[in-house]
Symmetry: C2
Subunit: 648 residues, 2 copies
């Protein structure tokens, strides 16, 4: 059978399941990537699992999100992550080394491999002929522990690239074109695979741009072939030996087929406040801007910055525009300095920031109230910049540079200048100085985890009891989001590595007595929650399951669940069940006591069972949707206990 | 009479008073400097005064403190400051342009002039043969409005420099030596004037280091002569025409005389947690460090950074050390890039941050809990780094660089290398791009102040009534600090430009009902406060007077006042009085009503008068300490009203 690149990688890594779209497959994971915002919990999970040493080929812990050190919390987290990387045999990329995705691509990515990362833009490394996927923290922890990653077999969506990019049009415009056609849910359940003659016009970092923003289409992943350009890139990085050729078989087909003729593209812009809100730049030209923001994993390459430098060279940013330059790696910054581009950027009046994610994830460079910001970042969701009711436009570097000069959104083709021919540095510096290699196992075992005062181990969790008699602490309506369960933001997230502390914020906007009541039930058999439709929608944060579990939650009984939160509940040993008759919802009140007997047998034997409302003497019928594997996990009290037993 | 440089400048600017140490003099102010943390209130004061246009020769508004934009508050402040600078005829140094003190020195400082700044390190520009002094915000607002600055005539402390600095010893060690000898109060009431043959060994930026940290001795100012080195510096900055020669008369004397033989100095370090805690580096060598921090107005020069670059060139920072490089101006950063020094710093493994004050004022780069930080900054007061119970050592760049390489505090003389001969750039870039020139008056008058949602004008304040009948809202004990009156910190200070909002925090730790009670009295004649000894100690923040005044405070009756808070009360029209018989304190209770009649006449006629405790029928005698000028100000309802009338 003729296979495309995606199918080849999946076939090579298939541990369970059938390669038919929509059915669950288990994949061997070769590499993992964690960043600091999600990584502290992953490392605490590895500790709770008693992991001895990473079982992957490569696992890397990056520090790129929380670089603002206004007190000891972030630097304490960094030291914890460094100690955990040493303890578990991970690479550690120190603060200031750069954004995980481009650094991983430069230093560690390998064609043909699978990469799982606790960051939604992990897919960026699909540029290297990898199957690279974002996932929840505990999924990545499991992968580090050598477990398969379970995912629905994707449809492979082939995008044939033809033609050549016109001057002033770049890789960002390619992915914008796909977003313009299909919007932000167009890629759900799919891997986007690029092929065709147009690839010759896209260097490895251009492909990174396109693969990165596959996340904005909701795709499972984005895959490029490993061709001579990938070889050139690896050679430039001093790693030619890591190259293998990986192309679709001649005559391979795709479940969905599409073509983009690069020659027909023009500069595009995503308007506020969705990356799918794409229009030609001409449609928004003239809109005044407060800020032009360069950087992030969506335009991370040397040439992206060099292009801006060449456009602004010898000119001045417009009065009132802040041109914020955010290098994506220290290696690239060094090359920009040595090639003279940084001098051009500085002399034009830019503000140079440290290498990292920075404003792309709302860590600095927030725009002023009511002012437009133009950014080369991947996302412009409302408020993501840090400013409420912000107005963020997305573009490629050419539009961002042209607009910085004029003070209004500008079609770069209207500048009175030749299209700059920017070139890669001739002898680029390779800089591993802030990327620490893993310790060998015998050294790693001697390392103690360093925990600052704000870092607490995950408490042990007990297995599922055979009998529960639990009060309903909250009865909620429809569409309860994970933000309502446990908020994000600057007030709460600093406690992301401290479950006992972050738990204090649980359900605070629904019932501020929940924390105290939960703590009361914790050692007395726990409690239950009741909800309506779409329970747990929104952010995927694991803390929204972990914190209630810490406070004694054993069972969540709702009309239906949002998918990711359901998965998180299962992972942390909270039994998620739904009503068989939705009217039973009305029979339940806060304070009612639910009785569940012979529970362990019941969930093994079938997916329906009966719960008694003890104080009312009534019974209601519920169902669970656990697979056999998940039932086993639930009986153990969650994934951490389950894997802990398997590690021994 | 033979005059020293300080006396020459004072004589030239004397508007009132006698030049005898300790007596109040009024000085003409030629230049002012405000930064963003203090500047927003200064600009709001100028607005409240109805200022038409700055009456100084040069006034500059810098943005260097609050560069972390995690939401819209800081960028909104920046836009407000920019609009205010345009409106009132000020220079505006945009965010990213650099730290006020070195930028002012490069672009605007002039020998022989007076400079008043709302920043304690304003004294740094004494390096240029100026009398440069830090002051409160409203003092600077008054100076911008053309009013004299009132200060006690200082003693002039002559420090004769002889000899030559040995290799590995720098300007920082000169000021450390003075701190070692005299500690942090040694300069109170004095101007430190340097002279002698050792000056030949100190370039203009070296002198900036020494003048800057005069603040750490508590000195009123630091003065260097304007000699051929100042001329060279101005020429390098393209401003040779701004140079005048200014030296002490031959045979001039000093109230205090002292000598430092540069040849005898060695590398020094200030231990935690005081800049006066100075020891030879050998005494702390071997102490492990987590961080080596380069930058700030205490070591701001090109050569300071170039020295570090040359020491670390081709080497690597020690494992676990964060070498944080904080450029002090964009101009200097550009020169460092072009001279190749930035490449050396980056390749050695440093983290490059944006140009600004940054971690020196706790805005980023905080150290981890329990770890040592070594910094070239001027201050290591407890917690200033942002980390509670921090452990910050201060040093010059040579020690900081050597220690970054070894991971422990290191005497640079023990490095196996030649002392680097660093040189100024041959054709240094001069960069005014982010320094906006003042608008001419006719243009300025057309500018509207831009106020984001977090910026509120200072409400109008009424004049002192002739009769007060006011309840005592709080009766407090001794040593009430301005932190207890109105806290600083990240929770409160974001509202520094919004008096109605920041007022909500007033006295919250003493009586959380104070705000509501105050608001109730506000339109009913106001209220009184009673306190013990040393009322208003601590930080000089003006808000601790402004906010209670906004809530209706008219009179503060205490045993005695801390000096600066007393001044702030007077400035904002709150009558500060003390008991003549301290036992009367015991007669007063919270809720008592004080009656003051014929008040306007009484405070004019003498400094003692009687207050009736209306509900008790008792009388107590009090005194005020206002000068004639201050009585006039008080009758007007404070300095803003007083100057407003004079502007017309």
């Amino acid at each position: 059978m003729k296979l495309n690149v995606t199918e080849k990688i999946i076939k090579e890594h298939l541990l369970s399941g059938e390669m038919s779209a929509g059915s669950e497959i288990g994949l061997k994971i070769d590499q993992t990537l964690t960043q600091d915002a999600t990584g502290t919990m992953v490392m605490l999970e590895l500790e709770a699992m008693d992991l001895d040493y990473a079982k992957t080929e490569v696992s890397a812990q990056y520090v790129d999100h929380n670089l603002i050190q206004v007190d000891s919390k972030n630097p304490d987290d960094h030291l914890f992550l460094q100690s955990a990387a040493k303890r578990f045999g991970l690479y550690y990329s120190r603060p200031g080394n750069g954004v995980s995705h481009p650094v991983h691509m430069q230093r560690l990515a390998k064609p043909g491999k699978t990469l799982l990362g606790s960051d939604s833009h992990t897919c960026a490394n699909g540029s290297m002929g990898m199957l690279a996927m974002g996932a929840g923290g505990i999924d990545v922890a499991m992968a580090i522990a050598g477990e398969p990653f379970y995912v629905k077999m994707p449809e492979v969506w082939g995008v044939k690239l033809t033609g050549e990019l016109p001057d002033w049009v770049g890789a960002k415009d390619v992915i914008f074109e796909l977003l313009r056609r299909h919007d932000v849910k167009g890629g759900v359940g799919k891997v986007i695979e690029y092929y065709g003659p147009g690839l010759n016009d896209l260097n490895a970092m251009d492909r990174h741009v396109i693969a990165n923003m596959g996340a904005e289409l909701g795709a499972t992943g984005t895959v490029f072939p490993s061709d001579k350009e990938v070889r050139r890139f690896l050679k430039e990085q001093g790693r030619e030996e890591d190259w293998i050729k990986l192309k679709a078989d001649r005559g391979a087909s795709y479940a969905i087929e599409e073509e983009i003729n690069l020659s027909e593209l023009e500069p595009l812009v995503a308007k506020p406040s969705s990356p799918g809100n794409v229009v030609p730049v001409s449609e928004v030209a003239g809109e005044p801007i407060y800020q032009s923001y360069i950087g992030s994993s969506a335009n991370p390459g040397f040439l992206d910055f060099a292009m801006v430098a060449e456009i602004v060279k010898g000119k001045q940013v417009a009065d009132g525009v802040s041109l914020d330059v955010n290098p994506t790696s220290r290696q690239m910054l060094t090359n920009l300095v040595q090639a003279g581009h940084m001098a051009s950027l500085l002399q034009a009046g830019s503000r140079l920031h440290q290498a990292g994610c920075n404003g792309c994830i709302g860590m600095g460079q927030a725009p002023a109230t009511g002012r437009n910001s133009l950014r080369t970042t991947p996302r412009n969701f409302p408020g993501r910049s840090g400013t409420k009711e912000d107005s963020v436009f997305l573009s490629g570097p050419e539009v961002a540079a042209a607009s910085a000069l004029t003070g209004v959104i500008t079609d770069p083709r209207t500048l009175e200048m030749e299209y700059p021919k920017v070139k890669s540095p001739r002898n680029p510096k390779i800089d591993n100085n802030l990327l620490d290699e893993p310790l060998p196992p015998e050294e790693a075992r001697k390392v103690e985890l360093y925990k600052g005062p704000n870092i607490a181990s995950i408490p042990e969790m007990d297995e599922l009891p055979n009998r529960l008699e639990v009060p309903i602490l909250l009865k909620m309506g429809n569409n309860i989001s994970t933000d309502e369960i446990l908020a994000g933001g600057a007030r709460v997230l600093p406690f992301r590595s401290n479950l006992p502390e972050i738990s204090k914020f649980t359900f605070e906007n629904i019932d501020e007595t929940y924390y105290d009541k939960g703590m009361d039930t914790k050692d007395l058999g726990g409690h239950a929650l009741v909800g309506g439709f779409n329970y747990g929608q929104g952010s995927s944060r694991e803390h929204a399951a972990l914190a209630p579990r810490f406070l004694g939650l054993r069972i969540a009984l709702v009309k239906d669940f949002a998918r990711i939160h359901w998965q998180n509940l299962v992972n942390f040993g909270i039994l998620p069940v739904t009503f068989i008759n939705e009217e039973d919802y009305d029979k339940l009140e806060q304070g009612d006591v639910l009785e569940l007997t012979n529970l362990r047998e019941k969930i093994k034997q079938g997916n329906q069972f009966t719960i008694t409302i003890k104080n009312k003497g009534e019974k209601i019928n519920v169902r669970h949707a656990l697979s056999g594997r998940q039932v086993d996990m639930m009986l153990h009290g969650g994934l951490i206990n389950w894997i802990k037993e398997r590690q021994v």
